[in-house]
């Protein structure tokens, strides 16, 4: 019985001592938002649409992100510019449904849609979590600096004729008899 009482008291004292000693250790708590945490570059946060190195929209409205999305929170409509490029007439992400899985980024054949380390997306009104293309499109290349889809694709656009894409020969002259 006496033993039990002594053990209990000692335990209390030990606990107090341990807690007291924590005062002299480095603090784990981050004073957010005054202090910003370090976010890893490949963190899957807020989704953006990027531009290619020439400053044109990268998204070609292929719809692969939308079909890959497990919660179906991406909707878009293909349009075609006068110069021959495909682009999304509208591009909408319902972030109140998004689960930041990153499948859209994996599916994107042009590196247009990318997930960023930004996670500060809370809103008081749920409707404000619906983002349109104007909200998503940034003025830069994002994580992938050099890729320009139309330099690789065979489709002709203004400023890049047939045969001028990467690894392409000049267009065939059908009327030629040469081998």
């Amino acid at each position: 019985m006496v033993r039990l009482i002594v053990d209990t008291l000692l335990s209390q004292v030990r606990t107090l001592w341990l807690v007291f000693m924590k005062l002299f250790q480095k603090k784990d708590t981050v004073e957010y938002p005054d202090q910003q945490p370090y976010m890893f570059p490949r963190w899957r946060g807020r989704i953006i649409l990027s531009r290619d190195p020439d400053g044109e929209e990268r998204c070609v409205a292929c719809n692969l992100c939308a079909v890959a999305c497990p919660v179906d929170c991406i909707a878009l409509q293909k349009g075609e510019m006068e110069d021959g490029r495909w682009y999304p007439e509208f591009f909408r992400i319902n972030f109140s449904r998004c689960i930041m899985c990153g499948f859209c980024e994996e599916a994107c054949p042009t590196n247009a849609i990318q997930l960023t380390p930004d996670f500060e997306m809370a809103e008081y009104v749920r409707q404000d979590m619906v983002w349109e293309k104007e909200d998503l499109l940034i003025n830069g290349t994002g994580k992938y600096h050099d890729y320009n889809f139309y330099r690789v694709a065979g489709k002709k656009i203004e400023g890049k004729d047939k045969g001028e894409a990467l690894n392409e020969a000049a267009p065939v002259d059908v009327r030629s008899l040469l081998p």
Binding site: N63, C73, L76, Q127, G154, G163, V172, V174
Partner: protein, 904 residues
């Protein structure tokens, strides 16, 4: 049946087919490109390599092309053999060497046979590091986009366009890796079937231009099995909708009717559904103007059109249900036909012939089996285009017969064509002008409509002396008669659109004479002009013609009329209609504003073909069910719903009631899918399991997603959930099967290749043949032998159909009304090609179109999109040149073989 062994498993197969076809029939996956179920094999792509063994002792085996090897008894093959697999992988690697990096910006992506086959063959990396071959594209008209870089030279396009559809302006050019598929110069693709290139091309060289401008991926389209409403054939289609607008129409396989192909009117003539001019709300006339009816007053406005003195005017482009609902509302006696009197008379004759046991109304598949054909007065290509395509196959029966004699299998396409050269089965065309089928015809007679009827009578008389006597000095009569008598399966084609009952009667006499002479049932194909002309006419009493209705109105016997989806200005002379409209108060139900809705006192908006579930009866009396694809977001209701009590009830009970009450319609309810087979009350989804954007597409309006709309009317649901179409569903919208995303997946749903679908309905033939008939005496209208020119009515595939002519894509190919006349007549009238001409001097203006093959003294009048009041024209007209007439489109787009280019 033969027994063959594939990878150690024994299968029962048809020895008349090749191995590829039989492998696919057995549900095995074997990649291919150049083979097409409808076009046979040429062995061009080398993709379907399999290992064949001589006998069970043979362990080595040899690689063969499955599409070029017969499935003969005892064959032992292996699809899974590593060497065969390796060969297929290497073949596709070389096919892909110059394929561009285009998939994200290619309309074919996601339903691409090349993507599927690449994946199936296992190729994934381009090892070849030299440059890709590139090609320039061509402008091919408003229907088709050309992106030649994507070509893998399978030759399917030219095999379809030239060999199958008889086109002349698409060809393979240059050679080796420079091979180019295009026209000799840029320009509109002339064939009426050019749209099929989109489906025939296994990759994205030919894509749908109209669809591209309003694009969605295949998996994003909400689809349902539908029926084309462009003409009376009733081809099966799959329309696709996204974000509330109808995006495209593709072919839906039906073994009896359209098979794998539809015409360009059916494929591109739908976007009137998305038109901004659609009537969106009920309109009533207030102080001379049509204004939207306030909600509370609508029912009372509709109720004023009830009572025993209200007449109903039916419509050949409305469904059976709508016509039947109107008949129930106004009563049998007050229910009038909605087609012109001449057409009504012809259609009644067609219906009486449809009950005659001496004849058979051939389906499109049966038309392909005919080995001697006579066409009396019909321009098949422009009236019922899909039948023209079938006739192009029927003339190949000679080639098939020759091939059989030489022991060449039918699927050896190139060999069969080589063997036959230009040897064709006979096709005789009696017409008032040169038609688009003339290039395959054995006998062409171009004459005035009355003379055509006379020549056809002479043919009948030649076949059997019992037919009414007729004499003609036309030299080919004896030959045509002999061909029809000798044939294994002769076919007679005529119809109501020629505008001449006597031609129809003469054609029936030919068929009757053949029946008498040969003793078998004769294929008699009688064409009508619109999707449900037959269905409507079956519901209408014979004496209740439109003329009778107009007479009743002008007599003052009725003051109120309900006009169902019909512009009556297209059905009778303008003056007559104008007179009648002054004496009657009208309730008009329609989709788009027309000259008739402009005169109505109450206009109710109705849904289009893709917004309602309905049945239609085609030219052979075949009823087919067309499902609703998408919802109408305005106030439009199916016309039958406006006409039923309280706008309630469901389509199924209406169909059941129609089957019970309407004569000849007793099989209509067999079209409804059996509800008992559904598992746990699940419906069939209209959306694919990959349908995207469900939680975002309406999020801009409200982030709280609306409930998926419930369809309590149908066995289909507006949802992704339900019975998967690949397994148990009773209806099949867009075909899809694992690893088969393209339209080639249809083979997974067929009993065997080119057989019936496992889960679909080919329709029900409504009309029973149990009567016997006799020869008809020709009802030749007296010909006023004056200086005037005899009139034949001409049609155009793009323009003659009322609704498709409202579609933007079709409008780009339409021409103005024209008068085709012979060079001699033109000279005597001092007309040049392209001059404006006044018809009878009564305000009808058309363009002179001088055609070298026209008979002197006959003109063919094409009325445009009702630009000319056709019913006011007599059997003869006088032409005079006008100088100051402005035409909208001209006739530059006109595709005929005999246009005199001089001076144009």
């Amino acid at each position: 049946m033969a027994k063959i062994v594939i990878d150690g498993i024994e299968y029962e197969v048809n020895p008349n087919n090749n191995l590829l076809q039989e492998c696919l029939s057995q549900g095995l996956d074997l990649p291919y490109f150049c083979w097409h179920p409808c076009m046979g094999s040429v062995g061009a792509c080398r993709q379907c390599a399999v290992k064949q063994y001589r006998d069970t002792e043979d362990k080595e085996g040899m690689l063969v092309m499955a599409c070029m090897t017969p499935a003969s008894e005892g064959s032992i093959i292996s699809v899974e053999d590593p060497q065969a697999k390796d060969m297929r992988e290497r073949v596709i690697e070389s096919l892909m060497i110059s394929h561009p990096h285009d998939c994200p910006v290619c309309e074919e992506g996601g339903e691409c046979h090349l993507q599927d086959m690449t994946l199936m063959s296992g190729h994934n990396y381009r090892r070849y590091d030299k440059k890709k071959v590139t090609h320039r594209n061509q402008y091919l008209g408003p229907f088709i986009n050309h992106e030649m870089n994507r070509c893998i030279t399978c030759y399917r396009c030219v095999r379809f366009y030239d060999d199958y559809a008889g086109g002349t302006d698409l060809s393979a050019q240059a050679s080796h890796h420079h091979t180019y598929f295009g026209r000799h110069e840029e320009g509109v693709l002339e064939s009426e079937f050019s749209g099929n290139l989109v489906e025939v091309c296994p990759t994205g060289v030919f894509t749908d231009k109209a669809f591209s401008s309003n694009y969605a991926r295949k998996w994003d389209l909400q689809t349902a099995p539908s029926v084309c409403t462009g003409c009376a054939i009733g081809c099966n289609t799959t329309p696709g909708e996204r974000y509330g607008s109808l995006r495209r129409i593709v072919n839906r396989y039906n073994s009896e009717i359209n098979g794998y192909f539809i015409c360009d009117r059916g494929r591109f003539g739908f976007d009137y559904v998305n038109s901004e001019e659609r009537i969106e709300a009920p309109l009533a006339r207030k102080e001379g103007q049509l204004a939207v009816v306030p909600k509370g007053q609508l029912q009372s406005a509709i109720d004023t059109f009830q009572g025993s003195d209200v007449i109903g005017i039916a419509s050949p482009r409305a469904s059976n249900e709508s016509n039947f609902a109107l008949r129930c509302l106004v009563g049998d006696e007050n229910f009038y036909s909605g087609i012109s009197d001449a057409e009504h008379e012809a259609t009644q004759l067609i219906l009486s012939l449809a009950k005659d046991s001496a004849f058979n109304a051939p389906s499109v598949r049966q038309i392909e089996l005919a080995d001697a054909v006579i066409i009396v007065g019909e321009d098949v290509t422009n009236v019922a285009p899909r039948i023209a395509l079938a006739l192009r196959q029927s003339v190949r029966n000679k080639a098939k017969e020759l091939a059989e004699g030489c022991n060449i299998p039918q699927w050896q396409d190139a060999a069969v064509r080589e063997l036959a050269q230009h040897d064709r089965s006979p096709l005789a065309i009696l017409s008032s002008y040169a038609t688009r089928l003339d290039d395959i015809a054995s006998d062409i007679v171009i004459d005035s409509p009355t003379e055509i009827a006379n020549i056809a009578s002479a043919v009948a008389n030649r076949i059997s002396g019992h037919a009414p006597a007729a004499s003609s000095d036309e030299a080919s009569v004896a030959q045509i008669a002999a061909q029809l008598i000798e044939a294994k399966r002769p076919l007679v084609i005529a119809g109501s659109t020629s505008g001449s009952v006597s031609q129809l009667q003469a054609a029936a006499n030919i068929a009757r004479a053949l029946n008498e002479k040969r003793g078998d049932v004769i294929d008699l194909c009688l064409l009508v002009s619109e999707v449900n002309t037959i269905g409507m006419s079956l519901l209408v009493n014979e004496r209740n013609s439109l003329g009778a209705a107009l007479e009743k109105i002008s007599n003052g016997q009725t003051k109120k009329a309900i006009v169902l989806e019909n512009d009556l200005y297209r059905r009778a002379a303008k003056q007559k209609i104008d007179e009648a409209f002054q004496k009657v108060e009208m309730l008009v139900i329609d989709q788009l504003p027309s000259a008739t809705t402009a005169k109505a006192s109450l206009v109710l908006p109705s849904t289009s073909f893709s917004e309602q579930e309905s049945t239609y009866v085609n030219y052979e009396g075949r009823a087919q069910l067309s499902f609703q694809v998408h919802r109408n977001h305005a106030a439009a209701l199916p016309a039958w719903r406006w006409l039923s009590d309280q706008q309630s009830g469901d389509i199924e009970s209406l169909i059941n009631r129609c089957a019970e009450e309407a004569k000849n319609f007793d099989k209509l309810d067999d079209l409804l899918p059996d509800l008992n087979q559904f598992v746990a009350g699940m419906k069939i989804p209209r959306q694919s399991h990959r349908y995207s954007g469900r939680t975002a597409m309406k999020a801009n309006l409200n982030v709280h997603e609306p409930k998926q709309p419930v369809d309590d009317q149908s066995v289909m649901s507006f949802s992704m959930e339900g019975i998967p179409a690949t397994k148990d569903s009773a209806v099949l919208g867009a075909a899809w099967s694992p690893a088969w995303n393209s339209n080639q997946s249809i083979s997974k749903f067929q009993e065997e290749i080119n057989g019936d679908l496992k889960q679909s309905h080919v329709g029900e033939l409504l009309i029973e043949r149990n009567e016997t008939g006799s020869y008809l005496s020709l009802d030749q209208r007296p010909n006023n032998l004056n200086e005037n020119l005899q009139v034949a009515v001409a049609y155009q595939i793009f323009g003659s159909d009322e609704l498709s002519a409202k579609s933007n894509t079709i409008q780009e190919r339409m021409t103005d009304a024209y008068v085709a006349l012979s060079p001699k007549d033109a000279k005597s009238l001092d007309l040049n090609q392209g001059d404006s001409v006044s018809l009878d001097g009564n305000g009808n203006i058309a363009i002179a179109c001088i055609r070298s093959k026209m008979k002197q003294g006959t003109v063919a009048v094409y009325c445009g999109d009702n630009d000319i009041d056709r019913h006011s024209l007599g059997t003869t007209i006088a032409l005079s040149k006008v100088t100051e007439a402005k035409m909208k489109r001209g006739i530059q787009g006109l595709i005929v073989s005999d246009l005199c280019e001089e001076g144009y």
